[in-house]
């Protein structure tokens, strides 16, 4: 069953964002709400999220945040674990379908109306795109739902076992290139699955990843990744990774 979330209109989102920037996260707890006059439902198919569902979601997010130090300052490590726990929670509990999860104003509603305190705790000195409806790949909550969605393997006992393969900034590299990679969940899952076992010959993970992504992007128009069975797909990624390592080594040798 798909659940529809309200879309927070741009003007209201900008106003809330500007107002909340100057308030301590702990004090923003008083500002949270489950509805807003400028949050509207589009008349498309699906069930409108009930207030109790939003309440339950908020309680669960706050609980995980408290375990990570909210409302005080969390350590970087605590934020990493927090992000992964929240990614699973949002993906499991929100009842969103992918097309609705692409609608950015629903994430502005979640960040600025339902969870303003936790949002501003997670990003103490945020830029607007962390909260507003501008870029899901940067949004405090939207990017986490998508991280879970793109790496989830629903048929496995632990469907989220691949969610932590990449750190935040490395996954951002993949997410930002999602459209170029053809939006293929199979490809992103396989990449997450084989990455730990890829021989990087001592080169920095990020450097190899960037090069692999570049190669996959170049290949995507002539190789149909979604036609490959899983073993072949993993082999293709290993092969591109090996080519990347060779190219990086040659580049370094030339530079010496």
């Amino acid at each position: 069953m798909s659940i529809l979330y309200p879309r927070l209109l741009d003007s209201a989102a900008t106003e809330l964002y500007q107002r909340y920037q100057h308030v301590e996260p702990g004090e923003l707890t008083n500002e949270h709400a489950f509805a807003h006059p400028s949050a509207v439902f589009a008349a498309t198919g699906g069930h409108r999220v009930p207030r109790e569902h939003l309440q339950d979601l908020r309680e669960r997010v706050v609980k995980i945040a408290e375990e990570a130090g909210f409302p005080g300052g969390g350590r970087r490590r605590a934020h990493t674990d927090f992000d992964l726990d929240i990614a699973k929670l949002l993906h499991e509990r929100m009842g969103l379908v992918a097309a609705e999860a692409s609608v950015r104003p629903i994430w502005a509603f979640l960040a600025l109306v339902v969870l303003p305190d936790v949002s501003f705790w997670r990003y103490r000195e945020p830029t607007g795109d962390r909260f507003l409806a501008t870029d899901i790949t940067r949004h405090v909550w939207g990017r986490l739902w998508w991280r879970a969605h793109l790496t989830a393997v629903p048929t496995e006992t632990d469907p989220y076992r691949l969610i932590g393969t990449f750190n935040e900034s490395d996954f951002d590299q993949i997410f930002a290139r999602r459209a170029g990679l053809g939006g293929s969940r199979a490809l992103i899952r396989a990449l997450s699955d084989v990455w730990p076992s890829v021989a990087k010959s001592g080169f920095a993970d990020r450097r190899v990843l960037r090069d692999v992504l570049k190669r996959l992007l170049r290949t995507a128009p002539i190789i149909e990744f979604d036609a490959l069975d899983y073993a072949d797909l993993c082999d293709e990624i290993r092969r591109e990774a090996a080519a990347s390592v060779t190219a990086i080594r040659a580049e370094d040798q030339r530079a010496q």
């Binding site: 879309r7 741009d10 992918a98």
Partner: protein, 297 residues
């Protein structure tokens, strides 16, 4: 522009495609280009008959007859930017093979434009294949794309009925078009048509859009014309908008460029900007003409 493939490919006529068919209960009908009643809970049951010359296709690519080739269908959804495999079957090394694609496509990953990509894909090159033949598993030998619009216009201009006093727009206005200021943001989610609950004539017409009365048609024609006018005005007024810029597919910039092209195919943006500035009344009249205001009423 055709893509350069680094390997030999077969001529297009190795595949004779039949129509995409939709199975509903016991009935079978050709898949229409628009499915306005589709929603996320719809499961599309689709079929397609094809006749494929599998031997000739291999031969034309320089592949030996024992090469493994598949007939594959991949779905791609514009709204979610996702894609995935819908169906796959082996392609025998025979000419004139009658094949039937048949699969269920759940709605939870879809929305907006649905592309159904039918392809011949190399799975493994056989022994004795030519050096110029495709060799990598997954190589696309032949591809054809069929597009269907799911949800009709609703997906392009989702509608919300609200009380304008509550959303802080002028409470006597009939409607308002929400549109992101960021030309590079995705249009989906950046556009929302708000109708004022306090204007029942407009709300009623929009709610009856699938089966409008004559009175509803007048209102719908006006709203449609005004929506296009708002988009054209935005394109004309926004100094950052450049119709020659290569905006990514699905962005607000791409939408504005497309609306501008469709509305004024023979006029460039500078001419429109000058006219709007110096002859605003004529500009408005031109927009009425281009959008066919009340033409079908």
């Amino acid at each position: 522009m055709s893509r350069a493939y680094p390997y030999r490919r077969p001529p297009a006529d190795v595949v004779a495609t039949g129509p995409w068919l939709r199975v509903t209960g016991d009935s079978l009908e050709e898949l229409p280009l628009d499915l306005p009643d589709w929603d996320y809970e719809t499961i599309l049951h689709l079929r397609r008959p094809l006749r494929v010359d599998g031997f000739r296709a291999r031969q034309a690519c320089g592949l030996s007859p024992d090469s493994a080739v598949t007939l594959t269908v991949v779905w791609a959804a514009a709204n979610s930017s996702l894609r995935g495999q819908a169906w796959q079957g082996s392609l025998p090394a025979l000419d004139g093979a009658e094949l039937q694609i048949d699969f269920d496509l759940p709605g939870d990953e879809l929305g907006g434009r649905l592309d159904l990509e039918t392809s011949l894909i190399l799975r493994a090159a056989g022994t004795g294949s030519s050096a110029t033949a495709p060799s990598r598993p997954g190589s696309v030998l032949w591809r054809e794309v069929h597009s269907v619009m799911l949800q009709g216009d609703a997906v392009l201009f989702p509608l919300a009925i609200v009380d304008f006093e509550q959303v802080r727009y002028p409470s006597g206005a009939a409607w308002h078009l929400e549109l992101s200021e960021d030309l590079d943001s995705q249009a989906l989610g950046s556009i929302l048509l708000l109708a004022n609950k306090r204007r029942p004539v407009v709300v009623g017409a929009l709610e009856n859009a699938a089966d409008p009365s004559d009175a509803d048609r007048l209102v719908l024609s006006t709203v449609q014309s005004e929506v296009i006018r708002s988009l054209v005005e935005r394109a004309v007024v926004d100094k950052d908008f450049d119709p020659t810029h290569d905006y990514a597919t699905g962005t607000v910039g791409a939408l504005l460029a497309s609306v501008l092209r469709a509305t004024f195919p023979d006029r460039d943006l500078d001419a429109l900007r000058r006219e709007r500035q110096h002859e605003p009344i004529l500009f408005t009249t031109r927009l009425q003409n281009a959008t066919g205001l009340l033409a079908g009423a």
